[in-house]
Amino acid sequence: MSDVTLREVSKSFGSHVAVDRVDLDVRSGTTTAVLGPSGCGKTTLLRLIAGFERPEAGNIALDGLVVDSPERWTPPERRRIGIVPQEGALFPHLNVARNVGYGLGRMQRRRGRVDEALSLVGLADSGSRMPHELSGGQQQRVAVARALAPRPAVVLLDEPFSALDAPLRAGIRADVVRALRTDGATAILVTHDQAEALSVADTVAVMREGTIVQVATPTALYRRPSDIQVACFVGDAVVLDVAISDGVASTALGPLTVRRSDGTVPPNGTAQVMLRPEQLVLTADTSGNTTNATIVGRDYYGHDALLRLRLSDGTSACARVGPASDKPVDAQVAVSVLGEAMAFDSPPTC
């Protein structure tokens, strides 16, 4: 059973096609992230699902009921959705409890659903405060509680964390995801932040220029992206131009086993292959015969570090190493590869 179903949904503004024949299924109780760069149509997609915009073509169903088709249209207030906009959009004239209770009937309010929703987001005692007395993070939590309170069929989150400071973001993100799971809510999260999409969602739909190019679990998306642009968008990537024969590419890093994203062996000929920086391993051997790269730069993150390398044939690559690695810039290193490389047919690079 799927809670949200889109079929061939299209929407344009003037000559600009914002959403182009999109199909999407979101299963009950799961969180789907719609990931894409700004301007790719992901917010429009959310607004179509909410009923704030109407598509030119296609059908939208929520909870098994068609809410938008050429024949029918259900207004937003009858769709049983909850929405968490970018800046929270709390009603400034209502206190926290009345914000959260806004979508509830009198009976539900009496039964304590407001307190329940507030404790879901860790703000049980803040009911009497006014929105402007809260921090940005607290406002966002209230917005989530307000969306969850009426137990909607689906919660739509539009870049809800992008306005928050980085250290705050991770914590609130985790809390919100926990709240969604605890409540068994179905959620669609729109974001341009790949780390957010990968860490939060059960399923990620990558959107580009109005179309959805790949729908996959975070693991599958990271390891088997459908094309090279998706590969580069969802994480750091090493891209090499290679010649392939019998499923093996000869590269500056030695011979590599290559597979396409569907697991098949690519045909012989030239292609681009992609490796993740984690697959590149610095070996201790400095005797000379396996040194095949020079360290040209180093980005240190604390929990790990990214080394930027120049391979012996002049191409650029990068490797992720542990925090204790202390190889200096300009050092000659030996690099070997774990696992197989992904091959893509299409020539464009990212």
């Binding site: 207030e77 009603f91 009426p150």
Partner: protein
């Protein structure tokens, strides 16, 4: 594939949102057209009359040797008063909002009060105190003292919500105080100054009362005189079309000066840091004391003196109460109708960009600079020829006020509507509230205070209005303004003074409330 289930409840038709079409606020545009059409009525009247008169008559009037000097005098007066009001209003606003000196709080209350004094009351107060005062410069002085609040209020509002961080950044980048002022403060205040200057110039161009009392023959007074003599409508009509041309130029000019500024709403609200004036505190205090003396104390003392002198004989209490009742009645009707007509236009301007919303908003300005008497005549013409039952009724007077003061309300409502952004209404609908419930629980509470401020502003302006009221009121109805006018025409200062006092005191209440809530009128065309 999807299975189409039966929808819960009744079958829903697409209301408001049509499939495959971009969202166009059709209903809003239709309702806006109602207001702009009413506001454009005098234009229709003028066109009809001008056609009757014919080209040759029009050319003859325009080419008449007295026409050009009249126009020059009107424009000259408008320029002098506007420039003086901008300097005085902006300086007073900066002192009251941005500086520290003794008595600041008191001046904040008193400085906007001249808004409660109609220009003819101020002129009459000055003349009765200094007999023989008349002419161009006398009119310039009196009008400036009446008009500077139109600049003071928007500039004070803009200063109050300016982000002090911007100042600090400028200083940190090495710009000195003067440079920070000319490069940052001035451009920031430009929209507020421009809208204030527009109001002042239109007020002066269409002013009738003060120039009559002070015997300066301006364009507007010439129109009134030629009508009053009863036989020369062609001159009035032709001169009025010239005034419309002047208004168009001024409104366009304001649009240009305002530039591409948007209402720079700063998300962070911080307390304004007031500048210490040091040795400048003394001249600053002197400036404010002089301003308040001239603009408030002298008219108040003059009216007070004549009221007391008149009271020694007898005070016509029943007449005053009756006239006050009339004033409140017609002003309330005018404010109600004006705000009702302005609501869709203001909301449209706040919510939707594009040529049509801008055009609709700008058209409302066209009649604002017309002398009240022309607006009055066009509505008399309309009611006699089209809707006779409305002739000389309170309803028609309310329409007249709406025609004259629509842009004031539109501006204030535009700001009010921006206090309830679309995203809040969408969120409310997603939470299951019908549009009507969303309006009642979100839009109205958020925009309501601003709409109330718009109503108050129009109410105040209606109360001060004279020429249109004289023409359009029901014959048996007297207002404070009309009673006052009939007394001053015979220079009966003592018997006119109680009406003036009552009018100013009544008008001071909304003025005070408005000046306490300048934020609501921020950039609103006031």
């Amino acid at each position: 594939m999807l299975h189409i289930h039966r929808l819960p409840g009744r079958r829903l038709r697409a209301r408001g949102l049509r499939r495959g079409h971009p969202r166009r606020p059709r209903g809003l545009i239709a309702l806006s057209l109602l207001g702009t059409t009413i506001a454009a009525t005098p234009l229709v009247y003028l066109v009809v009359r001008a056609r009757e008169a014919g080209w040759s008559a029009a050319v003859e009037t325009l080419a008449h040797p007295t026409t050009l000097p009249l126009l020059a005098r009107s424009l000259g007066l408008a320029t002098v008063v506007t420039v003086a009001s901008v300097f005085i209003g902006a300086a007073a606003a900066w002192l009251v909002v941005g500086a520290r000196f003794p008595g600041r709080g008191l001046f904040a209350v008193v400085a906007p009060l001249p808004l409660a004094v109609p220009s003819y009351v101020a002129a009459y107060a000055w003349v009765s105190a200094f007999p023989g005062m008349e002419g161009f410069w006398a009119a310039a002085l009196v009008l400036t003292l009446c008009c500077y609040p139109y600049v003071y209020l928007p500039v004070a509002a803009a200063l109050a919500r300016a982000d002090p961080g911007i100042d600090e950044v400028s200083r940190s980048l090495g710009a000195g105080g003067w440079r920070t002022f000319t490069r940052l403060k001035l451009p920031y205040l430009r929209p507020a100054i421009a809208s204030g200057a527009l109001l002042v110039s239109l007020y002066v161009v269409s002013d009738f009362g003060a120039v009559s009392v002070l015997r300066v023959t301006t364009f507007t007074r010439a129109i009134f005189t030629s009508l009053d003599l009863g036989f020369d409508r062609v001159t009035a009509v032709v001169l009025s079309t010239v005034l419309i041309a002047v208004t168009t130029v001024l409104v366009l000019g304001e649009t240009l000066i305002r530039g591409r500024h948007h209402n720079g709403l700063t998300p962070v609200q911080r307390n304004v840091r007031r500048a210490r004036l040091g040795s400048g505190a003394v001249p600053a205090g002197m400036f404010m004391i002089t301003l308040v003396t001239l603009a408030v104390a002298i008219p108040a003392a003059s009216i007070g003196y004549w009221t007391v002198r008149g009271a020694a004989r007898s005070v016509p209490w029943p007449d005053i109460v009756e006239a006050a009742r009339g004033s409140l009645l017609v002003s309330a009707a005018g404010a109600g109708l004006t705000v009702l007509l302005a609501l869709p236009i203001g909301v449209l301007a706040a919510r939707h960009r594009g040529t049509l919303p801008t055009l609709l908003e700008r058209v409302t300005w066209m009649s604002h600079a017309l002398p009240g008497v022309v607006v009055g005549l066009s509505l008399v013409f309309l009611s006699v020829n089209v809707v006779y039952p409305l002739y000389q009724s309170t309803s028609m007077l309310a329409v007249g006020y709406a025609v004259l003061f629509l842009p004031l309300a539109v501006g204030a409502i535009r700001v009010a509507a921006s206090h309830s952004p679309l995203i809040l209404e969408e969120t409310a609908r997603a939470l299951g509230k019908r549009p009507s419930a969303v309006f009642a629980t979100v839009t109205l509470p958020l925009a309501g205070p601003g709409v109330a401020a718009a109503a108050l502003l129009v109410f105040l302006t209606c109360m001060k209005e004279l020429p249109a009221t004289l023409l359009l009121r029901p014959t048996e109805l007297d207002t404070l303004a009309t009673s006052l006018w009939s007394q001053t025409t015979v220079a009966a200062y003592a018997s006119a003074a109680p009406f003036a006092a009552a009018l100013v005191l009544l008008a001071a209440v909304p003025t005070y409330v408005l000046s306490r809530h300048i934020g609501a009128l921020d950039n609103a065309g006031l």
